[in-house]
């Protein structure tokens, strides 16, 4: 069966990023087809967690993207009255036709993050980070040792203090990808593998080849996550996306005892770390459905899916150090996922000058759920030739090619 469809944009990948790209591109008036070789959210999106964090980012381009994304998440999840015609949130770029209030469907919880420091030294470093973040527009609230227990009554005693980040939120990633895609109205082709990127004699992208026929379109968005390098290669360009493995531990359902996303200040160092070895300082959080999520480890071991008990033990140890009551709570399951990362830990977002018509939206590492809305919005702006709200220079997809050149 050949399927010579035509549309404005083909999005490769039906994960969180592809879903957000589809949503904002359709809102910008484009005709969009999303193609995935598996089901919706069958990649990393279905194998991670849904923290929408500003707290773990140092001032810089990623934090700006996180702040933009945070506003957009609020915009699409907010319940709004039908007669409320104010723009949902400044700068979210949404048309008035957007179905408002995806909040419940995606289990959006603007619960805030609480970063705790165990020693006075760590607290000083954390407070310095918070000062910089505040200057960049992040809301931060200093919390002393006594207030910590008020915010989180089950927290271990003896911690030095912490910082509360009210903008941190969470969604359930698989639900978020599925509901954003459904709300977008884009055509979704699951179970269809992209096997080539079609290019015209002038080098411009003309669409994609799939195992079920070609899809013709002047623009193709590479939202293939951890497999983004492969899709880039199909278009003849290099993009060094690699996997960074993570395990998550899920407990039995509990009444709500962990109120915020709680993690130790070491976590920020882990996230930013360039080391290949294992890091396991966990984020502990309750979920709408009851289980507590403990995650996630970071490790560069390729696509090795095999279960690692030492990693899971380390996560459990970190979580019980923060919340001693968890010792008696049972872990029900553990799962593994592969974050898509680029060497400088920033995603690739925007047009690829090496292949006109090809756009990249991948490599979001451990923050692709949080950064999805901003990414989708910026991609829609570049697809329609508008000036993006953020300077995309730090996210240029060809930045590594230049570095590699002599």
């Amino acid at each position: 069966m050949t399927n010579q469809s035509s549309c404005d944009v083909v999005v490769v990948g039906a994960g969180m990023i592809g879903a957000a790209c589809a949503l904002y591109a359709v809102r910008a008036g484009l005709d969009v087809v999303v193609v995935d070789r598996g089901p919706v959210a069958g990649g990393t999106t279905g194998a991670g967690e849904g923290n929408l964090l500003v707290s773990d980012k140092e001032p810089g381009p990623e934090l700006e993207l996180a702040l933009l994304s945070c506003r957009l998440w609020r915009g699409i999840t907010e319940d709004r009255r039908p007669d409320d015609h104010r723009p949902p949130t400044r700068g979210n770029g949404l048309g008035p036709g957007l179905t408002p209030g995806l909040g419940r469907a995606v289990e959006y919880e603007p619960k805030g993050g609480l970063v705790v420091a165990s020693t006075p030294g760590a607290l000083t470093a954390l407070t310095e980070l918070a000062v910089g973040q505040r200057a960049a527009g992040v809301e931060t609230v200093a919390v002393d040792a006594n207030q910590l227990r008020e915010l989180e009554p089950y927290l271990a005693p003896g911690l030095a203090g912490g910082v509360l980040y009210p903008q941190d939120a969470q969604v359930m990633p698989t639900l978020a990808a599925a509901h954003l895609l459904r709300a977008s109205g884009a055509r979704v082709e699951t179970g269809r593998t992209v096997t080539g990127v079609l290019r015209g004699p002038d080098g411009a992208v003309r669409g994609v080849r799939t195992d079920r026929g070609d899809l013709l379109a002047p623009s193709v968005v590479n939202a293939a996550g951890t497999w983004g390098a492969e899709v880039a290669a199909l278009a003849g360009v290099s993009l060094p996306v690699l996997p960074r493995r993570g395990f998550v531990v899920v407990t039995e359902p509990l009444p709500r005892r962990v109120r915020h996303k709680v993690y130790s200040a070491d976590y920020v160092a882990d996230v930013a770390s360039d080391s290949a070895t294992l890091q396991t300082s966990p984020v502990v959080e309750g979920t709408a459905a009851g289980p507590v999520l403990i995650g996630a480890s970071r490790e560069r071991v390729g696509f090795d899916r095999s279960f690692s008990l030492p990693v899971v033990r380390a996560l459990a140890a970190g979580a019980t150090r923060l919340f001693p009551f968890l010792e008696h709570v049972r872990a029900m399951r553990a799962y593994v996922g592969f974050r898509p990362y680029l060497p400088d830990h920033l995603p690739a977002i925007g047009p690829d000058p090496r292949a006109p018509g090809l756009f990249h939206a991948c490599g979001h590492e451990g923050a692709g759920i949080g950064l999805a809305t901003g990414t989708g919005h910026l991609i829609a702006q570049t697809l329609t030739g508008r000036t993006p709200d953020l300077d995309l220079t730090p996210f240029r997809p060809d930045r590594f090619a230049e570095e590699a050149a002599p």
Binding site: P39, V40, A41, R182, T190, A317, R330
Partner: protein, 485 residues
């Protein structure tokens, strides 16, 4: 290095595990037999708890002599210190650890205290678990699994109810129905959705004749067993309703009756054939699935639903063998044969010699015969076509999380789920206490996707405090606490 006896951990003390333990212990290997039950025996030779003072437990068992042989063999090895037996040990993970293995368990029934065993090799003989497809009313109290009914009978010597309907599909329904009747229950009907008489008829078809007849003829014992059940069914006056299914269970607070209907060739109930049967218990089962969690956690390759093994019952992970229903469903005799081969292979390999397959030729022959026979049975007891379409939207398919068939269909239809994993993530079906063991076949059927074995690297829920602490010292060499062979 000093000469140390090689240690083989055998997980599961059913027919496969017992046979493996005896074969290995007789050949110079130190065996630690680990099982979550209070007594060895497994599904088939499940023993009544000692306190119950059962006078004639053998009345409930076929092949009592085989069991006596296993039991006496185990007692001899236990007394000689060649085998130790850890009952009430729920294994949650087997870990590969610098060339050796650590078997991590929780002590039952609380499952809070840890115990660990170090070993040089592992035999996975974890058996299977029951598959049940959902239908309206299947969550009512009084509806139990066929295996559950039998376990109550064998393990507790109690009857699950007074008037029982046994329903579903598969050869296991026969011993369950006759066992319940022999113990004094009134079995109102044995409702079998397949028509196993086609086993014989199909064999007569030229295309199947050779294979089918060979498989059957090679198994006079099995045929006699089936014949024996026929006589018992008659003796207990158990009506056998073939090509029929329980389409609904009724009752306000608990089961009061079931509706049984004839299934047409399209798998749908034929209008006008519905019939109501009063009962207080419905024992239902649609076959078994292999337990593969521990194997999967070790990284062993799976083959369809079961653990992949070679002719020596080795998995593709060095030092790990698998035997019995963990590798595929095939009855107690097949489990015995596989366990025996696994035990002999493991003993030789751990002692650094290549095993001689000729030494287990008889077991290998019965393995071949029985696998062929069960493949034939499997075809005869195939699921009714399109059974899942009969499940109404309102029926709960995952009881832990109370997910309905309608929610599963919506996840597939309009949210883009395409496999069991995404259905689970979108609906929470299979995320509850049983981790999908109970509902996965039903959810996969309703979703119309393949039943891929779930990945459960934690085979049991584990307290985080146990995970966080260093593993306890080796429990493998201490004597068995709860065994009274």
């Amino acid at each position: 290095m000093t000469e140390r006896r090689q240690v083989l951990a055998v997980i599961g003390a059913g027919p496969a595990g017992l046979a493996a333990a005896l074969a290995a212990a007789a050949r110079g290997v130190r065996v630690v037999l680990v099982d979550s039950a209070a007594e060895p025996g497994g599904q088939f030779y499940r023993q009544p708890a000692p306190g119950l003072g059962a006078r004639r437990p053998q009345a409930l068992h076929h092949q009592w002599r085989t069991w006596e042989r296993l039991r006496d063999g185990l007692a001899t090895h236990l007394a000689a210190g060649r085998v130790s037996c850890l009952s009430d040990h729920h294994v949650w993970c087997v870990e590969r650890d610098s060339g050796r293995f650590a078997v991590h368990a929780l002590l039952g029934p609380e499952q809070r205290e840890p115990a660990s065993v170090r070993a040089d090799g592992v035999v996975l003989a974890t058996g299977g678990y029951e598959k049940v497809w959902p239908f309206p009313g299947w969550t009512l109290p009084g509806v139990i699994t066929a295996g559950g009914a039998q376990a109550m009978l064998k393990g507790g010597l109690t009857l699950p109810g007074r008037t029982v309907v046994v329903a579903g599909t598969g050869p296991l329904l026969l011993p369950v129905a006759t066992g319940l009747a022999a113990a004094g229950a009134r079995v109102a009907a044995l409702v079998e959705s397949a028509d196993p008489t086609t086993l014989v008829r199909r064999s007569a078809h030229p295309r199947n004749a050779v294979r089918g007849a060979r498989a059957l003829a090679a198994h006079p014992g099995k045929l006699a067993e089936a014949g024996g059940y026929a006589a018992q069914l008659l003796w207990h006056r158990i009506p056998v309703l073939r090509r029929r299914a329980v389409v609904e269970a009724h009752g306000r607070d608990r089961l009061e009756s079931v509706t049984v209907a004839v299934l047409g060739p399209d798998g749908r109930p034929v209008p006008g054939t519905a019939q109501r049967l009063d009962c207080d218990t419905l024992a239902v089962g649609h076959g078994l699935l292999p337990h593969t969690d521990l194997a999967d956690g070790l990284g062993c390759r799976l083959d369809g639903a079961g653990v992949h093994v070679d002719d020596e019952q080795r998995t593709d992970v060095p030092g790990v063998w698998a035997a019995g229903e963990a590798t595929g469903i095939g009855g107690a005799a097949l489990s015995l044969a596989e366990g025996h081969i696994a035990g002999r292979s493991a003993a030789a390999r751990l002692n650094g010699t290549a095993p001689d397959p000729r030494s287990w030729a008889p077991a290998a022959r019965s393995r071949t015969r029985l696998r062929a026979f069960f493949a034939e049975l499997d075809r005869a007891y195939a699921a009714p076509v399109r059974w899942a379409e009969n499940v109404p939207d309102a029926t709960v398919v995952c009881r832990c999380e109370e997910v309905t068939a309608g929610a599963v269909r919506e996840a597939v239809g309009s949210l883009g789920a395409g496999d069991l994993r995404t259905v689970k993530l979108l609906t929470r079906a299979g995320m509850g206490w049983c981790q999908g063991r109970m509902c996965e076949p039903g959810v996969a059927g309703v979703a119309g996707c393949d039943l891929t074995p779930g990945r459960r690297p934690l085979a049991r829920p584990v307290p985080l405090g146990v995970l966080a602490a260093p593993p306890p010292p080796d429990a493998g060499t201490s004597p068995c606490p709860g065994t009274s062979p």
